[in-house]
């Protein structure tokens, strides 16, 4: 028999837990759902899913990070104006190509009283990149190690230059963990009772039911207005609506446009739209015999009326995009206009390319995007482009996205990309360079530009490369440019709070 942390559970299962568990439940069914203590003001938030665990180095999903960002502070952060501002680091600079220096805030302590200092940073960064941690966070792959300069100064030393390190430590990669506590209790207990420096402390988590945090009165940035944060997972919008209307939750985050539409017009429900950064676009296989012709790719862009698509399918929850770089990202070029929405021009271009009788293309997407796909098929059908739609279950689609066989996604596929670092390179990096699996572009010029964007530290040089890249995308049209999705929230109308463009649920600013 292997030794296990919870032998009693194992025994229960072995004995056929149904019977014994039933008895146990029958005894405890009377207890309510733990209201907040006394007159404590709790903010109750529903997301689609809950964290898979509470070790922030093992959490790569946004829903999980939205909980953890309240328990843990990062070195830098994006404020609600999307500026990169100090958090646990007060300032930072590149010492040279291989060295980023961070000056740390003084007098910060973890929830267990442990002081936060350069040693905590070194420990946190090195734990994240240690293969033994098995982290799913990949942003710091170019980091070699961290060096303590003095008690409140630390260097992140790169194996390969990376210009975006300060941005990358604003969320997933930048959470600071208490080395002493982790050494004392071990990783498993740390994940069960996480300790950070953040504005809220962990209280309890009943899986699939309720995750509770309480305000950290000693937080260096002051005590949050709410006494408690409650997170629940509500996968479907009907529960979310019922939850808000029956006063079981105060806020539902990250609603799909069609879910938000379902909540419209109910009293006690306030719908809030904020700009988001998730970019949606169709990747065109530039090696495909028909799509090889740039006139055909431009024709597709002229044929799709994106503003109409946003209005009709997304309930206005999106912004038209002329590129795949989000508007709020570093390097975004605002003066590239979107393609003219002109079906006649599209037909002319197709005829010029020799396809006056129309063409047929295989189009793949996750079935989550079904409505958008059908709208695209309709608009393209009007100019003689017949789409052979293949809508896949999201898991299957994800697998094909990462497959080495480009034909598994047909001649074009719809994708969404969230570049939370707000660097122009974030959404470009997976879709352009010829050696990336999602890329359907073979261009030495584009590869060289990507290398400059990814490896140059000097911001001016990078900015030039980013701008040139977007101009190149505009001329070559290797994508069918669509939209930048909004963030839809539903609240009970009594919460004052605003997310940044990432939609991160950092709730210390909520009133």
């Amino acid at each position: 028999m292997t030794s296990l942390p919870r032998p009693t559970r194992r025994d229960a299962l072995r004995l056929g837990a149904c019977g014994s568990a039933l008895g146990a439940v029958a005894l405890t069914t009377g207890c309510g759902s733990e209201p907040a203590a006394g007159d404590a003001r709790a903010l109750r938030i529903a997301q689609k899913s809950e964290p898979t665990g509470l070790d922030p180095h093992l959490e790569s999903g946004l829903d999980g990070m939205n909980v953890l960002i309240n328990i843990f502070d990062t070195l830098t952060m994006r404020d609600t104006d999307n500026e990169l501002v100090p958090r646990l680091a007060t300032s930072w600079e590149a010492v040279d190509e291989h060295r980023w220096r961070f000056h740390l805030r003084e007098g910060v302590t973890f929830h267990n009283g442990e002081p936060f200092d350069a040693a905590s940073v070194k420990f946190s960064i090195e734990r994240l990149i240690d293969p033994a941690t098995e982290s799913t966070i990949i942003e710091l792959r170019a980091v070699d190690h961290a060096e303590i300069v003095d008690e409140h100064t630390v260097d992140i030393v790169m194996a390969v230059p990376d210009p975006v390190i300060p941005e990358k430590v604003s969320l997933f990669g930048g959470v600071m963990l208490p080395p002493g506590y982790l050494e004392d209790v071990g990783a498993e207990q740390f994940a069960a009772q996480p300790v950070g420096t953040g504005p809220f402390r962990f209280v309890s988590w009943r899986k699939a039911q309720l995750l509770r945090l309480e305000a950290n009165a000693e937080h260096w940035n002051g005590r949050p207005a709410f006494d408690e944060l409650h997170f629940t997972a509500m996968p479907n919008p009907a529960s979310a609506l019922a939850g808000i209307q029956s006063d079981a939750v105060d806020m539902v985050s990250a609603l799909d446009p069609e879910a938000a539409l379902q909540l419209e017009g109910y009293k006690d429900v306030a719908l809030e739209k904020y700009p988001g950064i998730r970019m949606y676009f169709v990747v065109l296989d530039t090696e495909h015999e028909i799509l090889r012709d740039e006139r055909v790719r431009r024709a597709l862009n002229h044929a799709v009326d994106v503003p109409l698509l946003i209005e009709a399918v997304l309930n206005d929850s999106g912004r038209e995009a002329a590129t795949i770089v989000p508007r709020e990202a570093f390097g975004y070029v605002p003066d590239i206009p979107p393609p003219e929405r002109d079906p006649d021009l599209a037909r002319r271009l197709l005829a010029e390319a020799g396809y006056a009788d129309g063409i047929e293309l295989r189009f793949t997407s996750s079935n989550k995007e079904q409505l958008v796909c059908e709208a695209l098929a309709g608009m393209l059908g009007d100019v003689g482009v017949t789409l052979d739609l293949e809508l896949l279950e999201p898991g299957t689609f994800a697998e094909r996205l990462e497959s080495d066989d480009p034909s598994s996604l047909g001649s074009m596929y719809l994708t969404g990309s969230t570049g939370w670092t707000l660097d122009g390179g974030a959404t470009l990096q997976s879709y352009i360079r010829s050696d990336r699996r999602r890329s359907r572009i073979r261009s030495d010029h584009a590869d060289a530009l990507m290398d400059t964007i990814e490896q140059t530290i000097d911001p001016d040089t990078r900015l030039e490369a980013l701008q040139e890249m977007q101009q190149w995308l505009r001329d070559e049209a290797p994508f069918l440019f669509l939209y930048q999705a909004d963030l839809d929230f539903a609240t009970n109308g009594e919460i004052t709070w605003e997310p940044n463009v990432n939609g991160t649920l950092a709730m210390e600013t909520a009133r």
Binding site: A21, L22, P131, T136, G395, L401
Partner: protein, 356 residues
Amino acid sequence: MNSAPAPPPSSTPSSAPSAETSGETSTSTTSPTTSPTTSPTPSTPSARRHLLRAALTRLLSSLGVLWAAVTVVFVLSRASGDPVAQLLPENANPEQVAQMQATLGLDRPLIVQYLDFLGGLVRLDLGDSLLYREPVTSLIAERIPATALLAATALLITVVVSFLAGSIAAMRRGTGVDRTVMSLVLVGQSTPAFWVGILLVLLFGVQLRVLPAAGYGTLAHLVLPATTLAIFSVAVVARLLRSSLIEVMGQDHVRTARAKGAGEVRVLLAHSLRNASMPVITVLGLELGALLGGAILTEQIFNWPGIGRLTIDAISFRDFPLVQGTVVLFAATFIVVNLLVDLSYAIIDPRVRTEA
């Protein structure tokens, strides 16, 4: 769960029990004696050997079914995709993907993974979830109580409501009462459970606010999901019981009872229900399967923290060990329920204990 065991009808012509048992019957040696007709415990050595062989056959076939189920799931889940594609962000490079696959043990040959899984199963170790990084057994154990509570409550509602509806309809067959009850039942059978669930939420949770719309914790939270889950089964069981009762009530011993002046209710309780319950018990066993399937949907609608939601997450993330674990649990539940159904025959019908 069953209706109170009634005394055996004195007029039932039951054959004298022999000490033989067929391979199809229960293997329990401590089956409660509910009727004075016979003791189910075999007394002769040859009968004991029979019983032992039957028990062994039963056990082996159960293990075979379990093995088949987990093997199919092992193959299917791995054919359906790679979890690493969803565990890592889009900008993971090939080295990081390869490293994650090695970390999760997914780079080993399939046969090695399969044997490893079977070996673990023998030790009741289902491995660690890829998504939650916790032992599958403890993840499942955490969720069993909620699902067990939901399914058991739904089963209880099914039994009570369907026995009432079926009995009333059978006693008043051909009348307006019969037609009304059966029409209601048919409506219940024809409407999709998730739709009923959402309507119940909107009515009781949102408009009237008399019951919580979703969540877990109090008895009030249990009402809507259990009702939703029970509706379909009620229809199936009530219709079956009605026809079964009508058939039994036409039999000789019931006519005899009526001739002796027994009232309609007494005819039902003392002379008909027990015999009419036999097919119903079989169907209730099957319905438990439907309940487990229905629980997956119902738990999604009502945010019920049970196995169903865990299963959906496991499948959508290709969390192989967790999918395998939930299937082991479902298969084992079915096997146990089948056994219980066979056992209950022996308790309810003395003839089953004899060589039929």
